[in-house]
Amino acid sequence: MTDVGIEMTDDVKVPPLEGGHLTEHEVHPTATGISNEKLSMWVFLGSECLLFGGLISTYLLYKNRPGAIEVRDTVSGAHVGNAQRISDLFDIGFTSVSSFILLASSLTMVFAVLAAAKHQQDKLRLWLGTTAALGAVFVGGQVYEFTEFLNKGAGYTSNVSTSAFYTLTGFHGVHVSIGILILLATLALTFRERSQVTPERVEIVGLYWHFVDVVWILIFTVIYLIK
C-alpha cells in the first residue's frame, strides 16, 4: 500500500517496488492476522445475504399470486394466451447457458487471483478481462431475456410475480454490473506505475464476484428450477 503523500522525487529515496507491486511490509499487523480490507468484504457479504434473502423471499411469496399477463407472440404481437406467473414464460435452455457463463467467470476469477499471487501481471490482466467479458455476456443475456419477456407482454407491473422477478434479478444484475466495473477498474489500475493492485485486493474483488455468482446459484435454483 502506498503511504500517503509521498511524491516520487529525486530527493527522497523510495524503496523499489517489486514488479510494480507494493511491498508486504507496509501492511501492519492486525489482532487477528486478517487484513482490514479482507475482513470488511466478508462482513459486507454477510450483510448482503440479508438483502438478497429479502428479495428472494418477496419473489417466493408472490410467484404464484394471480394476475393475468396477456402473453403475446413476440413476432406477430398476437395474443396467444394468459400467463398467470412470470415463471410460465421462462426459457430454461437460455438461462442455463447464462448460468454456465457466470460459473465460468467464477473460474476465470480464481485464475486471476492465482496470477496476482504469482505476480504474473499479464495473466492477471488476461483473466480479469475474461471475467469481466463473461460477466458482460451474462448481463447481456439477462437483458435479452428481459426484453423477450417484455415483448411477450410481461412488463414490470403486469402482476406481482413479474414485479418481484424483475426486482430480484434486476438487483442481481446491478450487482454483476458493478462487479464488472470494479473488475475493469482493477484491470486499468494494474497499468499504473506503483500499482496499488495487490494480490490481496484482487482476492477481495474475487470475493465479491464469487458472492454474486453464489447468489445466482440460489436464484437459478429457487426461481427457475423449483416449481
Binding site: V27, G53, F100, S106, H210, L218, L225
Partner: protein
C-alpha cells in the same frame, strides 16, 4: 481470547496466502469447476423430471453443495481463518432463519387447533393459476 489463526507475525503469510501454506493450485480449481458444471447440468436436467417434493429437495441439496463449493474453495473459506467463516455464516443463517419463518407464517401456523381462536376462513380461495388461452369472446363484450 483473540481468535488468532494466523498470528500477527505471520502477516506476510496473510499477505501471500497462496505461497505460505497448503493451497489449492490450478488443478484443484479446475476440478471444483468441473464438479460445479456437472452439478449444474444435473440441476438443469431436473427440469424435465416429474414435479414433486423429491425433485425440489434434490435441487435444494444440489444448490447447497454448489454454494458450499464456491464458498469453501473459490472464496477460500476452507483455508482461511474461522472468523471469516463465522461472520459470513452468521449472516447467512440469520437470513435463512428469518425469511423462512416469515414466509411460513403466511401459510402455516394459522391453525391453533381451537376453531374459535382461529381467524375466519378466507371468503374465496385463490383461483388456481391457469395458462389456458382465453375463450373467444364476442366482439364488444367487457373483458374479465
Amino acid at each position: 481470547m483473540t481468535s488468532v489463526v494466523e498470528s500477527p507475525s505471520d502477516t506476510e503469510a496473510a499477505e501471500h496466502p497462496h505461497e505460505a501454506h497448503e493451497h489449492p493450485g490450478t488443478p484443484l480449481y479446475w476440478k471444483v469447476g468441473g464438479i460445479l458444471a456437472v452439478l449444474t447440468a444435473l440441476e438443469i436436467s431436473t427440469y424435465w423430471w416429474p414435479e414433486g417434493a423429491a425433485t425440489s429437495a434434490l435441487l435444494i441439496v444440489l444448490m447447497i453443495i454448489k454454494f458450499a463449493l464456491v464458498a469453501l474453495f473459490f472464496m477460500h473459506l476452507q483455508f482461511d481463518s474461522k472468523l471469516l467463516r463465522s461472520v459470513f455464516l452468521g449472516g447467512l443463517i440469520l437470513a435463512v432463519g428469518i425469511y423462512l419463518a416469515t414466509l411460513s407464517s403466511f401459510t402455516y401456523w394459522r391453525d391453533s387447533g381451537i376453531p374459535e381462536w382461529n381467524d375466519p376462513p378466507r371468503a374465496k380461495p385463490l383461483p388456481p393459476p391457469s395458462t389456458a388461452p382465453p375463450a373467444p369472446q364476442p366482439a364488444g363484450s367487457a373483458g374479465h
